[in-house]
Structures are given as C-alpha cells and as structure tokens.
C-alpha cells in the first residue's frame, strides 16, 4: 500500500510540475492588394479645356475649344453729348399790366362849388349850366405800390381811358401824370371833348421812363358843358379815369414779380454718331443731367424730351426749382433713364418726315411768383445745358460701315504640356472657326493670320488669308428674340497640332456692312455681338513614335509602422495598343530627385486583331523593393509610347483602359 502511495505521489508530482509555457511566434508572408484604379482616355487626358467625344463605334475624338475673337461694338452707338445750351437775360422777363382807376362823382364836383348843390340837388331834374374849369390843377394821387416800388423801363405804354358818365358833356380836359418823388412828367393828355356816356382813350410810350410807386395825376383843366335841356341830377354819376401801363419791358425793377415764363425753347438736337444712322435706341443705363446757373430769384425750369419714352410715357422733368446762384457753380439735376426708349427720328410729324440721330426737346424757364419785393436788373441771367450719357441696350437703324481689326491675339494652350518629346502623326484633325453672329448687320471676316507655335517652330493654317468670309446677319422674331446665324470655316489642322504647340496666334479683320446699307434695318445689342471660337476635333487615330509624356504627381505617404512591407507590386493590365516604356522618379519636398523607383520598364501593348482593335489585354507586373517613402513628396512619371503595330494608324476607343493595381508583400510577426 505504501508503495502505491509513493508511486501515486511521484506521478502526481510529475503532472503537477508546471512547465513554463513559452508561446511560440512565427512570421507569415502575405501578399495583398492595396489600391486599384482604372485609367481610360478620360483619366489620361485630364484637362478642363478638352472634351472627349466618341462615335457610335466608341472611337474617341478629342475636342478642344477656345474663344478666338471677342469684339465690342457698344462704342458704336454710345450717346455721350451736350445739348440745348442756352442763356436768357432779364430782357426776356415780363411784367403784368398795371391798371389803376380813379372815380370822380357828379356829387363831388357839385359840392366843390358853393351853393351849387342847392341849385342842382341830387335827384332833381334840372338844366346843368356850363361850368368852365370846374377842375383846375386838381391833383389825384395814384398808388402803384401794389405792383412795384420803382420800375426802370426800356419799353412800355401808358394808356389813359376817361369815361364820362355825367349827364352832360365835358371838354378841355388836360391831365398830366408825374412821379410824386421827383415831379418828373411821365405823360400829358388833352381831350377837347368827351360827350356824355362815352369813353375816350389816349396812350403814350413811356420807354426810358422811371416810374415810382406813387404817381400824381394832375387834372389841369376840365370844363363842364351845359346840358341839353333838363337832365336827371344823380350825384353817383362819375367820370372814371383808368390808367393802364402795358408792354412793360424792365431794365431794372424792384417789384413783386408774378409767376411768369421767361423762355420757351422747342428744338431738335442731332447727335454726331459718325456713319451710324440710328432711329431708335433702347437705353440699358444712363443719365441726362440738366446743368443750370441762375441769378434770377425763384427760378424754375421744366425740361421735356418727347423723344424719350418709357411704357409710352414721355419724359418730363417736372418743376425743377433753380436756386439763385451766389457764385459760378452750376446746379445739376440728374435723371436716370434706364429702361427708356429714345426715338431718334426727330420731332413727331416734323416737316420733311423722319430723320436720324435726332431727338426733340422742350425747355421752359420760369420765374415763380416772388411774393415779396425783389430787384431784378439787366445783368441777371438764366444759363443751362443738358448732358446725355446713355448706354444703349440696343440700337436700330443703320450701323454704318466699319473695319475692325483684331489681333494679333495669342491664345495660350497647355493641352500638350505633358508631352516631352517624340512624335505623333494624326491621321486627321479637323479645325474650324465657328462664328455665331448676333448682330443684325451684314459682316465679313478676313483671317489674316492663324498659326500654331512652340519654342522652335511655327506652322500656319492652310487657310486663304485674303479671302473674306461672308457672315450672315442675325434676325429678330416678333418677340425681339435674336435669331443668330452660324458661320463655320473649316480647315485641316493636323499639321498645326503635330508640333505640340503651346500657343495659337490669330489676327483677323471684320467688315461691318461691307456692301453698304441694306433694305433690312440693322440692329445691335452690345451684349450679344459676335462669338467666335476655334474648334479642334481630333479623332484619336494616331501613329505615335516614342511619344514621351511627363506627368508629376503629388504623393503623401506616412510611416506605416504596423506592417513590415517588403515589396510593392505594380500590376498593370494594359488595354491600349500602346507599348509603354516607363520611368518613375521620386522627388522630395524641395523637388530634388532622391531615387528612381522604376527604370525603363516595358509595359507591353494589348494584342490587336487584323483591324488593329484590341482583343486581349496584356499584363505586366513591376516589382519594387519597398523603402522608406516618407520623404517622397512627388513622383515624375515619364512614359514613352509607341503605337502597335508600328507605323500604322491605331484608333483609340472609349472602352480601352489601363487597370493598375498596387499590391504589397507584407511580413507580419504573429504570436500565439
């Protein structure tokens, strides 16, 4: 039993001895894909200015389009002029007629003679005896302060009206009008006889006279003739004297001036537009500025342009209040005419019919009612002129004939920047100049130069530099929408492109209305003139011979610490019928070449059939030992292409692709 126990203990001890378990480790080699990408023509030609087109069979054409010519014709029809310059002085100011009345009744006359009122009582019927000199040197005060203080006249007429309402004739009336202040005689009047119930008048010129506000009318003499029998004695019967001063022309006056129009100018103005003959302009933007300088008080102006309408309503400035100038600075009033139409055919219903480039304007100047006494003299004046600054939206009429030279214009091109050397023969390259004409006028285009150039060579386009291409005029529909015309000038461009140009040089001459005025009215919308661009369509049917392309790519690779990358494989499945010799240079952040990743690696062309169409892709794998790529910031890919088969034109189709995948061999240490 003891032996059994000892054996048991021994075996237990054997099992209980815990051997320290050391976990094994091992390295495994994995190869895994990392990234993949498919490159088609779209990727290889990543240029925002180049489009890719394909026909029904999928053959690729590159389409490059660039604006060729841009012409501006808005200056042709711009209206920028000064019109309606006018000056008005005081002599054009007017003054209203001054009318002053005086009434002398029968009763007043009878009462002046003692006891005569007893003889001839009011309401009686008596015979009036002859009374000589019933008035002798009687002075009648006339107060014109309501109208003026003083008036210095260069013209004027003073008219005296005497109305005899006495029941008997009066005779030998002599009246003298004098200034109260200086007793100057203004006028004298003599009326031998004024029968009863009649009115007599006489007028004299008072030009050159100075009138005071206070005048005396001295009745030198008035006889009363005897009545013809008994008459009714009515003391209210009177002799009414009316003094009227009219046709007043003032050289200087201190007066309360009434509202009055000083000037009225109705006239046409013709703009000088060279050979352009316009009958209507739509205004896109612009202003008419009224510039005024007035020394007259309470000046006012109204400026109308019936030729300028918006929604059928003519322009009127309304009352422009002109402040009295204290210096020589003009006051300006600006009016915006955006959206207006300007009729340039002149005044409506003018003699001789419609004209061109002409507007009709109406200008009125006023003095407003002064309200208080104001002094105006001959030096006071009213000066104004109008400035037109209009940018047309459109113009109709005849645009004239003109020759517009364009260029030499250099168009920079970077579509071939990625080609370093080698040659390519395009089987075909179609170039065209497409001109879209929005101008309603006949035009001609002469391409005086079209060439492509690089640093070493210049090639001219096969185009006749003397030929003038006819460009049809545009038209407008009933809604004023422009129907443009398209003119296309085609020529072969393969020779221009095969030098891999970095510039296109062009110059041209445009002829506006080369055949003169057409029976169809011209029109021009300055925003839509002429679009001319050069179009290049290159079917990718080429023969490339060591065509060397260079592309620089940005690379950012951080340290990958989790994995021990030993090799990198570039698996390239070439679906293009192009042999590619590849070289990749690695650069650091200072653009210094620090390594060559691959050198002269051949990537075989895809296999083609008898028609040179790809039937089988070719796979090439490039193996590269992995290194520390953290310093690499750029890679330069230099690829030399040769079409296969050699010396034959090969078409490139949209379904051709290069499938690039990058895989890596990774060694990983695993522990249990």
């Amino acid at each position: 039993m003891k032996k059994i126990i000892y054996i048991f203990i021994g075996i237990s001890a054997l099992f209980s001895c815990k051997h320290e378990l050391e976990l094994p480790s091992w390295n495994i080699d994995l190869v895994i894909p990392v990234v993949n990408s498919k490159l088609s023509i779209n990727n290889l030609i990543a240029d925002s200015t180049t489009n890719i087109n394909q026909n029904e069979s999928g053959m690729i054409s590159l389409i490059f389009q660039e604006e060729l010519i841009n012409i501006h014709l808005d200056t042709l029809i711009k209206i920028d002029a000064i019109a309606d310059e006018q000056t008005h002085t005081l002599d054009s100011a007017s003054f209203a007629d001054v009318i002053i009345s005086d009434t002398a009744t029968l009763g007043e006359s009878i009462n002046e003679i003692p006891l005569l009122s007893l003889v001839l009582p009011n309401g009686s019927s008596n015979i009036i005896p002859a009374i000589p000199s019933i008035a002798s040197n009687d002075t009648i005060s006339i107060n014109a302060s309501e109208y003026f203080e003083t008036m210095n006249l260069y013209q004027g007429t003073l008219k005296l009206d005497i109305k005899n309402e006495y029941p008997t004739d009066i005779s030998n009336i002599s009246l003298t009008l004098i200034n109260a202040t200086n007793q100057n005689i203004i006028a004298t009047f003599l009326f031998p006889l004024i029968p009863t119930g009649t009115t007599v008048s006489d007028s004299v010129s008072i030009a050159g006279q100075i009138l005071d506000e206070n005048l005396f009318a001295i009745l030198d003499n008035m006889d009363v003739n005897a009545s013809n029998g008994a008459v009714l004695i009515d003391y209210s019967d009177a002799i009414i004297t009316t003094i009227t001063i009219s046709d007043i022309g003032i050289t200087e006056a201190t007066a309360i001036f009434p509202e009055q129009q000083l000037t009225e100018t109705l006239k046409e103005h013709t703009f000088d537009l060279g050979g352009v003959q316009l009958n209507e302009v739509g205004i896109k933007s612009g202003t008419v500025t009224v510039n005024v300088l007035s020394t007259l008080p309470n000046g006012k102006m109204i400026y109308n342009i019936p030729s300028l309408k918006k929604n059928g309503v003519s322009f009127s400035s309304g009352d422009i209040i002109i402040p009295q100038a204290t210096g020589t600075e003009l006051t300006t009033f600006e009016f915006n005419f955006e959206g207006y139409k300007l009729d340039l055919t002149g005044e409506e219903n003018r003699d001789g019919g419609d004209t061109i480039n002409t507007i009709y304007t109406e200008s009125y100047t006023f003095i407003d009612y002064t309200g208080t006494l104001e002094t105006i003299n001959a030096t006071d004046s009213f000066y104004s002129y109008i400035e037109f600054d209009l940018t047309p939206e459109y113009a109709t009429g005849f645009l004239g004939t003109d020759t517009i030279s364009f260029g030499p214009e250099i168009i920079e091109s970077d579509i071939f920047n990625f080609i370093q050397s080698g040659s390519i023969d395009f089987e075909q390259a179609d170039m065209s100049i497409n001109i879209k004409n929005f101008i309603g006028a006949d035009m001609g285009l002469q391409i005086t130069n079209l060439s492509s150039t690089n640093e070493n060579t210049e090639v001219n386009a096969s185009i006749d530099n003397n030929f003038i291409y006819e460009i049809n005029r545009a038209s407008q529909n009933i809604d004023n929408q422009i129907n443009s015309t398209l003119t296309q000038i085609n020529f072969e461009g393969d020779k221009l492109l095969e030098i891999f140009p970095n510039k296109f040089i062009t110059s041209a001459t445009f002829y506006l209305n080369p055949y003169g005025q057409n029976i169809i009215e011209d029109f021009l919308y300055p925003e839509f003139t002429l679009d001319a661009n050069i179009n290049i369509e290159v079917p990718l049917r080429v023969n490339a011979n060591n065509l060397t392309l260079v592309d620089t790519s940005e690379i950012e690779i951080n340290e990958i610490s989790n994995y021990d990358i030993q090799k990198v494989f570039f698996n390239i499945e070439n679906g293009f019928p192009l042999d590619i010799k590849l070289k990749i240079l690695l650069l650091d952040e200072n653009d210094i070449i620090i390594d060559t990743l691959v050198q002269d690696i051949n990537i075989d062309a895809a296999q083609v059939d008898i028609n040179n169409i790809v039937v089988n892709n070719q796979i090439t794998t490039v193996e590269v030992d992995y290194q520390d790529f953290t310093n690499i910031k750029k890679a330069i890919l230099i690829s030399s292409l040769n079409t296969m088969p050699n010396n034959e034109y090969i078409s490139l189709y949209s379904n051709y692709e290069i499938d690039i995948s990058i895989s890596a061999k990774i060694n990983k240490l695993l522990s249990n």
Partner: protein, 409 residues
C-alpha cells in the same frame, strides 16, 4: 429544514447499508493527432519560433485530407458503493478538451501566409476548432438483475470556458502578385465571456446522461454503454459569430492613382467584418458509445480478453433538431474514427499486464496500448494507449498516459 434533513438522510441510510465501497481516482492525459508529431511539437516548444521548414515538415508528414488534433486532460474522483444488487456512484471530474480538424491549406495560410501560394486556391473548408473546460458532477445508479446489469447516470456540468470555430466553407484564391483576392467563407464561432479567464469561472450549465447495460451470455459479458451524452448552455455574455460571404478584393478603388495619399490606406484592409452578437448558445460534450465483449479463453495470454468498438458522438453545434441525421452528424463531426480494439489481461508475478491493440480513434492509426496493474483490492493502473508512440520519439503523433487508483473498502 426537515426536507433537507430527509434528503441528506436518504443517501446516508443507503450508505450505511453498503457492503462494498470503492474510491476511484483517474488522471488522464491524452494527446492524439494524425499529422503533428513529437518532433514538430518539440521544435515549437524549444525554439519558440516556428520556421517555414518546420511547417513544411509538418505538411509533408500529413497523409490525410484533414489534420486532426485531439487532447484531453481529465482528473476525476469517483466513489461507488454497492448495496445488495444495487450500486450507487458519485463522481466529480475536471475536464479540458481540445478537438480540432483543419486542412493543410489552413496550416499554409496561418503559418506561412498566402505569398507562397499565388495563383492557387487555399481551401480550409471543413476546418474546426473546439475547446472546452468544465466540471462534471455525476450520480450513478445501477442494479443487477439475473443476467444483466443496468445502470444509468446523470451529470451536472459546470461550464467554465468554451471556444469553437466552425468553418463550413472557406477558400482563398490569391492572384499572381496579389493583384486580387477571392475570398469565400461560411463560418460560425462561439466564444464564452472573455472578461473572466479564471479556471473555475461559471459561464454555463448543462447536463449529461449515462446509460449502460451489461449482459452475461454463457461465458461472455456484453457491455453496451453510452456515457457523457450531454450539452452545456453557455450564458448570454457569450459572443456568437455567423458569417457567410463571398467577395473579391482588389484593393481600394481610387479615381486618380497619379495623386496618391496614404490616408486611403486607413481603410485598405478588409473592414467589412462579419457582425458578432451576444447571446446564449449550446455546445455538446463528447459522448462515448461503447460496445465491448469480455470473455475468457484457455490461451495463456488471452485468458481474459475483451474486444469491442468505441465511437464518439460530438456534433459541432446545435444547429439541427434531434434526428437520425443529427445523430449521424454527431458521429461524423466528432473527428473520431470508430475505434476497434482488443485487449487482454496477462497476469505476471509482479503485476498484471494489460496490452491493448486498437485501430481508429483520432489518429486513425493502429495503436498498441499497455497498462500495468498492481493490486487486487486496491489497484493502481498506469497505462498508455500509445505505447509505440511513447517510445517512438520524434515520429510519435500520439501521447497518452493514464493513472487509475482504486481503493476498495
């Protein structure tokens, strides 16, 4: 309280009537493989670094479609007592089971990587890995009838840890230079709660059943038994993975390869991982089906001999209801080829020799086992199922040692 006392009193009352008692200690270490041998294992443990040469040696030594490794470490204590014609037993054991089957291609992939197998498809479908640790508490009852003995047992299983990977289908094709990978997989994985790795953590509970019937026919005894037919239900903290996918990986597709930024590599590797979820799952423990015939003869070395057949029932997972198909599935998925054996007891002066010749099992090999037994009433048995492997040194691909200590009182 009374009930508890009554419950305790019942076995004690039975125990008090016991005429024969037996305590049985069993320690069993069993390692069996049809491919990996001692040389490979010693290289692994000695050098601490697995080289490609070692792997190539392993692959060259593999002769069958699948590599099987089975390992069991079992320590148990049984107590049995006999009352009249009945016997009762209690046992407690600590079980550690590892069972795995995998293809050569999985070895290549796991230990060498796919770099050396470009333009080839590696197939690791049908591979699986199962590892369980649990304690088993068993109660046995048996009764002897005239010519036969029937016994049955019921066990409570306390599951500690379980890990299983079942790859139903799995292939990996590596294109030349790794330009693309074609991956197909249909797999299940079950892992118990990983937050606690203590030896006796309770992450699941289960039951197992035993049944045996022994018949005496003339001079022979025929024993049929099914033991450890059971399962463990693991708790809902377990991680379950169910993945079935096919995809081709060619790397990250980028638009412009000429402007390369490695920030795209942050998502280079496969990120489309299958989804896992937390849930309960059921796993089975290996059940043993045994049909043995014990007999006697006149021949000196075969006076007492036995022969029989042992099968294992050990399905991968609880994916189908119990049916004949499930039963068949369990036998196939046990990775155990029916073991045919014959053994004899040769009595010598100093001890009994128990040689055993068998064919089948996990190694699917012919093995010669030998046990030494000493004692009658109190017996110590020390044995191995693979004597030749024990002395074969480098080419041995099985190793087993067991100790049984029995004391009668």
């Amino acid at each position: 309280m009374k009930k508890i006392i009554l419950l305790l009193f019942v076995p004690l009352s039975i125990f008090s009537q016991a005429t024969d008692n037996e305590i049985f200690w069993n320690s069993n270490f069993h390692f069996e493989s049809n491919s990996i041998n001692r040389n490979i294992i010693s290289n692994l443990s000695d050098d601490n670094t697995i080289t490609n040469q070692m792997i190539d040696n392993w692959l060259n030594s593999s002769t069958s479609e699948y590599n099987i490794i089975h390992s069991e470490i079992l320590n148990g204590l049984d107590y049995k007592f006999f009352v009249k014609k009945m016997h009762f037993g209690l046992s407690i054991s600590d079980n550690n089971i590892l069972n795995t089957k995998f293809t050569d291609d999985l070895i290549k992939l796991a230990f060498k990587g796919n770099y050396f197998y470009q333009d080839q498809q590696l197939d690791f479908g049908g591979s699986n890995f199962r590892a369980s640790r649990f304690q088993q508490y068993k109660f046995i009852f048996g009764k002897k009838f005239n010519n036969y003995i029937i016994s049955s047992g019921i066990s409570y299983l306390s599951g500690n840890h379980h890990l299983s990977y079942i790859i139903n289908e799995g292939t990996l094709f590596t294109a030349p230079y790794g330009s693309h990978l074609d991956i197909l997989y249909n797999m299940n994985a079950f892992v118990t709660d990983t937050s606690d790795f203590t030896l006796f953590a309770n992450n699941g509970n289960g039951f197992a059943f035993d049944f045996s019937a022994e018949f005496k026919i003339q001079k022979s005894n025929i024993l049929f038994s099914i033991s450890d037919l059971g399962f463990i239900n693991w708790n809902k903290s377990s991680v379950i993975l169910d993945a079935d996918s096919t995809f081709n990986f060619s790397g990250i597709l980028i638009d412009d390869i000429f402007n390369f930024n490695d920030s795209i590599l942050e998502n280079t590797f496969i990120t489309d991982l299958p989804n896992t979820k937390n849930n309960t799952f059921k796993s089975y423990i290996p059940a043993t089906v045994n049909l043995t015939v014990n007999s006697t003869s006149k021949y000196k070395y075969f006076k007492n001999y036995s022969f029989g057949i042992i099968a294992k029932w050990y399905p991968y997972m609880d994916d189908t209801p119990l049916s004949f198909l499930k039963i068949n599935q369990g036998f196939k998925q046990s990775n155990f080829k029916n073991l045919y054996f014959i053994n004899s007891i040769i009595k010598t002066k100093y001890c009994d020799l128990i040689p055993k010749l068998s064919h089948g099992g996990y190694s699917k090999d012919t093995n010669l086992g030998l046990a030494l037994a000493k004692g009658k009433k109190n017996k110590l048995i020390l044995g191995t199922y693979n004597l030749l492997d024990l002395i074969n040194n480098n080419d041995a691909n099985s190793l087993s040692i067991y100790i049984n200590l029995t004391k009668h009182f």
